[in-house]
Symmetry: C2
Subunit: 529 residues, 2 copies
């Protein structure tokens, strides 16, 4: 049978190489590894922007950042963009959010169109096409403007008092004398969270997802189970806090030459505080074991989820996607956080499990094709029985890689974008808001980063898989630079905003003056034209 439901699991800030099945020698992720044996593991999957908001909105719209326009966190998703709900709901599939989405409602746009943001339609639009089962973006509720999530109520009900239990219990650690210490201070990450593991966010969201699936009834659904971990604060509950030590950490991937004749944009990011801190061995040795503990904790809950799916029979008819919104530098390339386009940041794990018989041919294999975040929603449209509208969805379904019924179309390149207008790096560079833009294009061999006002960066991933040498200023790089810039230009100059006419509509109109609504005079009789 073909899949009826979709379980779309996303982790936040999970590096592709911090999973056993992606080659990490020490981390224990047996359940995610098992998932990869049930399906196809993509080892060259790229996100459309190495930062939460834009990356997620590309997943949820199937469109490049330049197309959906939400270029950074907090940028409202413009009303009128076609969302996951717009694609799947008309096919009879509910689209349900359990966890983080980072979507910000375009309240001004709704006002322009006379849409009440509190109406049912307004709520759906403002949530990017999701029906909210439980939303928890991990935004500090006391400082941010979001309403406290159900998770805060849950913590209160489970013995964690106070008005902001997320901050004071889930994001705090237990000092040696029982005192609370802020989890935002990475020094404290050798200590356990003040919540028990079973009350942590990862456990809670898994519970909530199972609750949804249990109660969902016969209507097909696409459930977006969206963990806010292993994103920082890297606070991790016992026993996971003590599971890994400095010896389990991957060696830092960096070279002294990356600090020499450095591209100005890279240098500006290296100069930011989080990069300076993650460049210290003591910081890495304290933080990364906690990061790894968070991942193994997620893995345990994936195991619980899979056991539930198997036991309930859902596994037979549920397509599962496991991925992340971006990676984490963790000190590689003298950087912390994400933001730029080295593999640690822009490449993500992507595992797709299709229980249908057509996918047996690919089960347990690794796919080396270049794929992108925007390919996920077209996959869902196909699973839901729809036809992908390529004038709206800019990715391509991944099912041909799984079913191998025909040779899948290979993407000649992947593109990712970053708007650094919002970051300190812009001020360090004295760059304008308008030109604080980066675009990456990677053709499987060379990766070019276009940076207005500066020379491009260039990495040759065949000769230099660890991306330690920026070739952008070498005369010998000109042919590769020219080739990639040409691809980037071609990509950019395509239609990205013409979403109201399908190719079939274009063809219908192109063949008929009547349909085109234009009439042109003639000299000779029409018939002999």
């Amino acid at each position: 049978m073909t899949s009826k439901n979709i379980l779309f699991i996303m982790c936040d800030q999970l590096r592709f190489d911090y999973l056993g099945c992606y080659g990490h020698p020490h981390i224990r992720t047996p359940h995610i590894d098992a998932l990869s044996k049930r399906g196809v593991r993509f080892d060259r999957a790229y996100v459309q922007s190495p930062v939460c908001g834009p990356s997620r909105i590309s997943f949820y719209t199937g469109r490049y950042v330049r197309s959906h326009g939400a270029t950074w966190n907090t940028v409202p998703l413009r009303v009128g963009e076609v969302t996951i709900g717009d694609h799947l709901n008309p096919l009879g599939m509910r689209t349900v959010l359990c966890g983080k989405s980072h979507v910000v409602a375009d309240v001004a746009g709704m006002a322009r169109l006379g849409i009440d943001p509190h109406s049912a339609a307004g709520q759906r639009i403002g949530q990017g096409g999701f029906e909210v089962w439980d939303r928890h973006d991990g935004v500090h509720p006391a400082r941010g403007k979001k309403k406290p999530s159900h998770y805060n109520q849950y913590l209160n009900a489970n013995g964690y008092p106070g008005s902001d239990p997320w901050e004071h219990w889930a994001n705090a650690v237990q000092g040696d004398d029982g005192e609370a210490l802020s989890g935002w201070s990475m020094r404290h990450l050798d200590k356990p969270a003040r919540v028990k593991a079973e009350h942590s966010e990862t456990a809670y969201m898994t519970d909530r997802a199972i609750e949804f699936m249990t109660s969902a009834g016969p209507t097909p659904w696409c459930l977006h189970l969206s963990y806010i971990k292993p994103h920082w604060p890297y606070v991790v509950p016992a026993p996971y806090h003590a599971m890994y030590g400095p010896d389990d950490v991957l060696p830092v991937n960096r070279h002294a030459q990356e600090l020499d004749n450095t591209h100005p944009v890279l240098a500006a990011f290296q100069a930011q505080r989080f990069s300076r801190e993650f460049s210290r061995p003591d910081v890495r040795e304290r933080v990364i074991p906690a990061y790894m503990g968070l991942i193994t904790q997620i893995d345990d809950h994936i195991g619980r989820l899979m056991a539930w799916l198997d036991a309930s029979g859902h596994a037979e008819n549920t397509l599962i996607v496991f991925t992340a919104d971006h990676g984490d530098y963790l000190g590689d390339h003298w950087l912390g956080e994400k933001d730029l386009f080295h593999e640690a940041s822009v490449k993500v794990p992507l595992i797709v499990v299709d229980p249908s018989r057509q996918a047996d041919v690919s089960r347990g294999t690794v796919c080396h094709a270049l794929v992108q975040a925007i390919d996920v929603l077209p996959t869902f449209v196909e699973v839901a029985g729809g036809v992908v509208p390529p004038h709206i969805l800019e990715g391509q379904s991944l099912l041909p890689f799984l079913h191998q019924t025909s040779a899948p179309t290979q993407r000649p390149y992947v593109v990712s974008e970053y708007d650094y207008a919002y970051r300190e790096a812009r001020h360090l560079l004295g760059q304008t808001v308008r030109d604080a833009r980066l675009q990456m294009i990677f053709d499987g061999t060379h990766k070019l980063i276009n940076a207005p006002g500066y020379r491009p960066m260039l990495y040759d991933l065949q000769a230099d898989p660890h991306e330690l040498q920026d070739l952008g200023d070498l005369p010998g790089s000109q042919p590769a630079i020219a080739r990639l810039l040409q691809h980037l230009t071609d990509w950019s100059l395509c239609h990205h905003a013409q979403i109201t006419h399908s190719e079939a509509q274009v063809n219908a109109i192109a063949g008929s003056e009547e349909a085109a609504g234009i009439y042109i005079g003639y000299w000779d009789a029409r018939a002999d034209g």
Copy 2:
């Protein structure tokens, strides 16, 4: 005093050089010429697409075609695009349509958002932000799907019977024996229309505009008086049908070398029927005098309008813009219609009359700056007392050219686009829908046309002002091609869809982690960072 109202006059398919003030040696356009003496005449004004629909929508949104997405006639204007009404209505100014707009409602988009297209909001959105006083797109009502306009009722009431008087009277000519002949056949254009001049479309729309202004009351308005002439069918009533003869026609601007080693896209357009017909001297000599008669008729009504404005006192507080949506090849370059980017097609007349004292300094002058259709709406926003939001409006106000209070920002280039997926030329070329795109960039010297799948076209307007030699395949052109392609890439890679955060919002968020809603951990105490 500053202007309170705006009269935004557009002609359809009016070539810039078929006006006296733009140098035509024979045509009589004294009232438009007088308008240019009252204001500033721009002699390098370009439209964002040389075809009605996309060009108009760029005027009405202040955005490039790649941004608004309505890439050709009949492509619905996607719901959520910010329109002229969205900009001016909140400033207390009505936006009123009298004539043609070519806007097609995005009914599917409205359905996605739960907007009833018949509601007041739905009507406004579907009309591209205009309140309809009288809409008449000139689309054949019997064949097209539009409701008959008020103009049909008007014709019936004035002695032109039948269910389709537009077709059978306004678009038909009177044969020598009083019989009706179709005006779509250009052979007949030496004969007068079957309607009297005072009942023609141009007269009717002028009447309707005066009716609106008379009844409008004190609320400021922007009235879009949008004539469907001199667009074809070039049927013209007496006495204008006999006003001009073959000797009044401008010499055809073409050269035999334009048929030799011709760029494939240009050759495909030259092969279309209208181009072949307009390449015949007999066709030009029959059609262009009628075209000129239509223009002089418009001019007479502009005179009537100006007399009314003067007499009623409106002239003192009404900013007037006179322009066109694109030109007409009329046989130049072996082409008919518009569609491509020679000056005859992509350059338009643009006259701006600002009655305010600040504009006295520029009155009667000619401005040679490069300006664009998207500059018109920012001008209106300034006139209405608003502040131009550059993340939405991609043009720049023209007022600095009129007021000369500070040095106006010079546009380094203008860009125009064309989607030929809908045209026969695509079939002749065997081009895909996706790649049937052209982009023009003109920096005031060189004009480059980028054509996916083909070499670019290039014209040097300093050495070759008549654009008779395409330099695109000459080795010596490489520096100019590279320079313009770089500009085109830069332009294309700018944000075009990020319309929900202003620069001020970006800056407010960039300076505050709290506003950004992101929290990042630290090692050392925050204060010493």
